[in-house]
């Protein structure tokens, strides 16, 4: 059990590529922490630097208060589960699980028993004599987990643990992993490019872009109040609507095309007249109506996508396409006239100049989401 602390951690490659740029981050003991970002953002490099598979070029890394910046991977007491599981094909399940114990010179009988016990805990009892090649993807993943668990490391590192599983199994594994992590209470860092996965599993998460952390917070904070346009775009199953607008007279309205919209609650009193902004509104928090209402954008329904219990409506208004999610049975007809209205309580405003969230009180970042530990939310300004 350990906390992980990074101070000014930097990883630059010989070619001049800076994969991780002067990063400060503290992950609490027992936390389930997600590193989220598009490919090439440095999240895997950061994970590998924590593991010791990459050497930090600057800064320091502390595990449980101990400086391990230059310690070799085997001396850090961390276990990593790789995307391809990295099971040894010539060893059976028991030998695979017991491998780290064997390296640590645990006596044969003891490590066999330990592997049996850990395997049983993950439902692998029937498979202990099989080779990895005879297992399904989900079973292989559980063997890889068992191998990581069996020697009780202080930290688990998961590199895209679910991406080799098919869609249905991935959902099961998500729940399974989250419960397992809670049961074991081991500090866990996992890397993913799937925002839904990060939102669903993590206690806290960091959204990364080109070597920098753009936002750290609970999934709820990150979902409800993305601190900049990048995070706003990246988080959410359906991308957030970002509607170009200009601030109206006295900063009391937002003008889109010729329609005047009310300023969202979160930005009231923060805007100057004639400022160019982006009005951010998640499709889930955007209403569609077939009749005209005050502050609604008029357009025509262009596309209808069925999402099961809901439908995604794309309304074209001028050059703009605004998406909204409506409950099933309430979909407007394609081609019909419709009015879209961002929910004032949930909508956000971003400045065009720096892409940052306009916020009434920057410290009070838990405004929209119910986050018990609001103080832990850190907003990192983009360069």
């Amino acid at each position: 059990m350990a906390s992980i602390e990074m101070r000014g951690l930097t990883k630059a490659y010989a070619g001049g590529v800076v994969a991780v740029n002067s990063l400060d981050l503290t992950i609490a003991d027992g936390e389930f922490f997600a590193l989220l970002g598009p490919s090439g953002c440095g999240k895997t490099t950061l994970l590998r630097t924590i593991a010791g598979l990459e050497q930090a070029t600057e800064g320091s890394l502390l595990l449980n208060g101990r400086d391990v910046t230059t310690a070799p991977p085997g001396k850090r007491d961390v276990a990593m589960v790789f995307q391809d599981y990295a099971l040894f094909p010539h060893m059976n399940v028991n030998e695979n699980i017991a491998y780290p114990l064997r390296i640590q010179k645990v006596p044969s009988a003891e490590r066999r028993a330990k592997a049996e016990e850990t395997g049983a805990g993950l439902g692998l009892s029937e498979l202990m004599e099989r080779r990895p090649g005879q297992l399904s993807g989900g079973q292989q993943q559980r063997v890889a987990l068992a191998r990581a668990i069996a020697y009780r490391p202080q930290v688990f590192l998961f590199d895209e643990p679910l991406s080799n599983l098919d869609a249905r199994l991935r959902l099961e594994a998500r729940t399974f992993l989250k419960r397992l992590q809670k049961d074991l209470g081991v500090t866990t860092v996992f890397v993913t490019h799937d925002q839904a996965e990060a939102l669903a599993m993590a206690d806290r998460m960091a959204v990364m872009e080109s070597g920098h952390i753009r936002q750290i917070g609970t999934p709820s904070e990150v979902f409800h109040r993305p601190v900049n346009v990048f995070v706003a775009n990246f988080i959410g199953s359906t991308p957030m609507n970002l509607i170009p607008a200009r601030v109206g007279p006295a900063g009391e309205s937002l003008v889109v095309a010729s329609t005047s919209l009310p300023v969202p609650t979160s930005a009231v009193g923060q805007l100057a007249e004639d400022e160019d902004v982006l009005l951010g509104s998640r499709p889930e928090y955007t209403d569609v109506s077939c009749s005209e209402g005050p502050g609604a954008l008029r357009g025509t329904v262009a596309v209808l996508e069925n999402l099961g219990a809901t439908a995604l409506v794309s309304v074209e208004t001028g050059d703009l396409s605004v998406q909204a999610v409506v409950p099933e049975g309430e979909e407007p007809a394609i081609g019909a006239e419709a009015w879209v209205l961002p929910q004032r309580q949930r909508a956000l405003v971003y400045r065009v100049t720096d892409g940052l969230l306009v916020s009434r009180a920057p410290d009070e970042s838990a405004g929209a989401g119910a986050a018990p530990d609001a103080g832990s939310a850190t907003e990192v300004a983009s360069a």
Partner: protein
């Protein structure tokens, strides 16, 4: 031959739609060449092996069938046993130990070096492999030369004749140098196929380099090691280039089997005897091959 078999089984509808006659016409030239240059010499060697055929003299004009005389002669001939022992030493020293170990070491250490270094080292090693034997032999004779040789200059041992003093050591080192490229290339490819995540898992568990090799690398490249050993053993066993350095001497001290055959059959003119030893050598080759292939099969099942 495949085309022939097909057309024989189903003359009207063979795969290429040629018909039996045309298929035969296509295959015949190749079969004639194979027959003239492979099958006939092999059978002719078999025949010569049971005669007292010589390069010159009466027996050259009128060879007599002597049965298994040549074979029993060979097996009791101390010269033959000497050659066989030297060949095994040559294979063990230059192929199994020399080329395999050196080739693997180079391949292993080239994984983590800058690309330019890797390219230079691999090019040098390959150069030794692709140069013609005669040129290479000349270079080595110059290198080992008694008076002005590079090696003697470096070691300050002017006047020492390596080819006379240590003939076997000389040809073993020579052949190791010459043939390492193959093992290096094969092992480089094999090492590339070891999944990095498995090595990293071992490192995270605290495995040292030896444990990583034993538990991760070797199980992955075991098949390659066997294939490599089989091929270079056979090539080294049949290698004639030591002749270019020592001609089997001094006093048979570096006379491996191929050199012994050459000396017996062509130098001494005993073609019948030489043919018999050739066949024995072929059988030994087969034995080596069967041994390795069985090992490979056991590992796979």
């Amino acid at each position: 031959m495949a085309a022939q078999a097909t057309s024989a089984a189903a003359p009207e509808t063979d795969a290429a739609g040629l018909g039996k006659a045309r298929a035969t016409a296509f295959v015949t030239p190749a079969l004639l060449l194979v027959g003239a240059f492979l099958v006939f010499p092999a059978l002719w060697t078999l025949y010569l092996g049971i005669t007292d055929y010589r390069l010159t003299g009466i027996a050259a004009a009128d060879p007599q069938i002597v049965g298994l005389q040549n074979y029993t002669d060979a097996l009791t001939d101390p010269q033959f046993r000497n050659a066989l022992a030297l060949t095994l030493l040559f294979v063990l020293g230059s192929a199994i130990v020399g080329q395999t170990v050196l080739g693997f070491s180079i391949a292993w250490s080239m994984r983590a070096v800058p690309k330019t270094v890797k390219t230079v080292v691999e090019s040098l090693v390959l150069l030794a492999w692709i140069l013609p034997s005669s040129i290479v032999a000349f270079l080595w004779i110059a290198y080992l030369n008694r008076d002005n040789g590079t090696l003697n200059s470096v070691l300050g041992t002017s006047g020492f004749d390596w080819l006379l003093g240590h003939p076997m050591l000389s040809i073993i080192v020579f052949n190791t140098w010459r043939g390492t490229a193959f093992s290096m290339l094969l092992f480089s490819a094999a090492l590339n196929a070891v999944p990095p995540s498995q090595l990293e898992t071992a490192r995270l568990a605290g495995a040292d380099t030896f444990a990583q090799f034993r538990d991760v690398v070797f199980p992955h490249i075991r098949g390659h090691v066997l294939t490599n050993t089989l091929l270079i053993s056979l090539w080294t066993f049949n290698d004639f280039s030591p002749y270019l350095l020592t001609a089997g001497g001094p006093n048979h001290a570096s006379e491996t089997l191929p050199v012994y055959i050459y000396n017996s059959a062509l130098y001494s003119g005993e073609l019948g005897y030489g043919s018999a030893i050739s066949l024995i050598m072929l059988l030994i080759n087969l034995l080596i091959a069967v041994f390795y292939l069985r090992l490979l099969k056991d590992r796979r099942s």
